[in-house]
């Protein structure tokens, strides 16, 4: 456990010791602000914040999820791919550590980034509370759901990063997997089919929406936890099997 903490701390500070984290957070907040306050024709057919006159953060969370599918793979891509490329993986794995400690530590370090990025959006609920009387349920649920789906993205990104020595490859693979599982519930509709239960079950977004309604269903939580644990375990396994190649 102490080792996991040491690695997590190093990863976390590695993000904030370089411009990457600041750029990612700045882009995230600016895009989020623009989509929150302004109407964007075609892209987001809704009334803007002022016209809607409704004390809700639902569109904000939807956008956060969308932005996370791009930003979080960019954050997770370096976790293992960079170590492999630079040869520092050899240093790390010849320390008295297990592969599991390494991947869990790295995952938690990236989760720290997610926490900071998400925490900075708390300005919106505060603003909302000042201006009106929002229902706290969907806001708490929304943040809980955003953190869960973000953690799932990071776990998938970590796995992609374990597969390759190239950060770009890890980034693209993670985006494709994350986007697919996020929007798979819309696939039947897009193909002109009626909706399937299976696509809803697999869809990150469907589970996220369910949580974000403010009624926390243990099935949705279990779904995300399974994805997280599964992807982190696979990443650890992938790191271990490298030994035998």
């Amino acid at each position: 456990m102490r080792n996991v903490r040491t690695i997590a701390r190093r990863e976390f500070f590695a993000y904030f010791g370089s411009p990457v984290a600041y750029i990612a957070i700045a882009v995230f907040l600016v895009l989020l602000g623009v989509t929150f306050f302004f109407k964007i024709p075609f892209l987001l057919p809704k009334d803007d914040f002022f016209e809607a006159k409704e004390a809700t953060l639902r569109p904000l969370f939807e956008w956060m999820v969308f932005l996370f599918t791009i930003i979080l793979p960019a954050i997770s891509m370096r976790l293992l791919a960079e170590e492999r490329k630079m040869g520092t993986l050899e240093l790390l794995l010849t320390l008295p550590l297990t592969e599991t400690e390494v991947v869990v530590g790295k995952f938690l370090g990236a989760l720290g980034f997610l926490g900071v990025a998400t925490g900075l959006t708390l300005a919106y609920p505060i603003l909302l509370a000042v201006l009106g009387h929002p229902d706290p349920g969907p806001i708490v649920g929304g943040y809980f759901g955003v953190l869960l789906i973000g953690a799932a993205y990071l776990a998938v990104g970590l796995l992609a990063s374990a597969w390759t020595g190239s950060q770009i490859t890890a980034f693209l693979v993670a985006i494709v997997i994350c986007a697919f599982f996020t929007f798979v519930d819309r696939l039947p509709e897009a193909l002109g089919l009626r909706s399937f239960e299976a696509t809803n079950l697999l869809s990150f977004n469907a589970h996220f929406r369910s949580i974000a309604r403010g009624v926390i269903d243990s099935r949705d939580v279990v779904f995300f936890l399974s994805v997280i644990v599964g992807a982190v375990a696979l990443a650890s396994h992938s790191l271990e099997s490298r030994k035998w190649k």
Binding site: G87, E90, T94, P96
Partner: protein
């Protein structure tokens, strides 16, 4: 304390190690020597648990590197080839990170870092980002990282590669020093390095161990015996000289050799044992009135022994 048995490693169709076995005792300083691609690095990566062997086993103090990996790695300090480092950390941050994982107590960490930094000579760059350091300082940072927990076993893959001649001497002295009270295995393709720092050589070639011993024992085993080179002025005529020399006690054979630059008659004398025949040859020449142009003990140096063993 380190026991390597029948190590085989295949990278796909390529066999990098083809059955290497050796044991290293506590306090030995062992030099892994061999041409590039011989299997030195592969062997070290297996001993440190970074990769697993296709077959064979490595145990450290009776503990298997695969089964008891964490326990084995606790006892080892390792400097990988090319000394990989985290460029975005300062030397102090990096050493503190490794010290943390090495379970060095918190209030000892600062003292340990300063001690180690002093020993490898990086005190003045402790606050600098590793990415901005020269190759020599990075190499020493890697060495400091390997020593931070004062390990019983140090495994150093090409510890002096990329260093300038002065730094090489410093690092060799340091390794020599470290070898006094711990086990060191280092690899190199540089022969003088091994003879300067190691008391035992493992010569590896194409994944096989081709020689194992002290520099002296290897040269005795592969050097081809006790021979002398004698050159006598040609006017004396070769035959009587060779005949007379052949009658000296201890001489096994006297053969003319081909030396284009010779002005006299060059002969190679093989002697039994390791008796030095040079005084006897000189006395004989004086007595017989020969003009002796040269008398030299031939010693096949390690360099040529290694060349011979690592060709083909």
């Amino acid at each position: 304390m380190i026991e390597v048995r029948n190590l085989v490693k295949d990278y796909g169709p390529i066999r990098a190690l083809a059955g290497v076995s050796f044991t290293v005792q506590r306090g030995e300083v062992v030099g892994f020597l061999g041409p590039n691609g011989a299997g030195k690095t592969t062997c070290m990566k297996i001993v440190t648990g970074f990769i697993a062997a296709t077959s064979g086993s490595v145990t450290v103090d009776g503990k298997d590197v695969v089964e008891d990996g964490v326990e084995v790695r606790r006892r080892i300090g390792y400097l990988p080839e090319n000394a990989p480092v985290y460029p975005d950390m300062t030397v102090r941050e990096y050493l503190a990170f490794v010290a943390g994982i090495r379970a060095i107590p918190k209030n000892d960490i600062v003292r340990r870092i300063n001690d180690v930094a002093m020993r490898v000579g990086i005190v003045n760059v402790l606050g600098q980002e590793i990415g901005t350091l020269s190759k020599g300082y990075r190499q020493r940072t890697g060495l400091a990282q390997a020593m931070i927990h004062d390990p019983e076993i140090l495994i150093l893959d090409e510890p002096t590669s990329g260093l300038d001649p002065n730094q090489i001497v410093e690092i060799r002295e340091l390794i020599h020093d470290l070898g006094r009270d711990r086990t060191v295995i280092l690899s190199t393709h540089n022969l003088p390095e091994v003879t300067a720092t190691c008391n035992r050589i493992l010569l590896i070639h194409r994944g096989k161990l081709v020689a194992d011993g002290t520099p002296a024992s290897i040269s005795a085993a592969h050097g081809g015996g006790n021979t002398f080179l004698v050159e006598v002025d040609r006017r004396q005529g070769a035959h009587p000289v060779a005949d007379v020399l052949g009658r000296l006690p201890g001489v096994l054979s006297v053969l003319p050799i081909d030396r284009p630059e010779a002005v006299g008659e060059p002969l190679r004398i093989a002697a039994s044992g390791d008796a030095d025949l040079r005084p006897a040859i000189f006395d004989l020449a004086v007595k017989s009135g020969w003009a002796l142009l040269e008398v030299r003990r031939e010693r096949l140096d390690l360099e040529s022994i290694f060349q011979r063993l690592t060709q083909s």
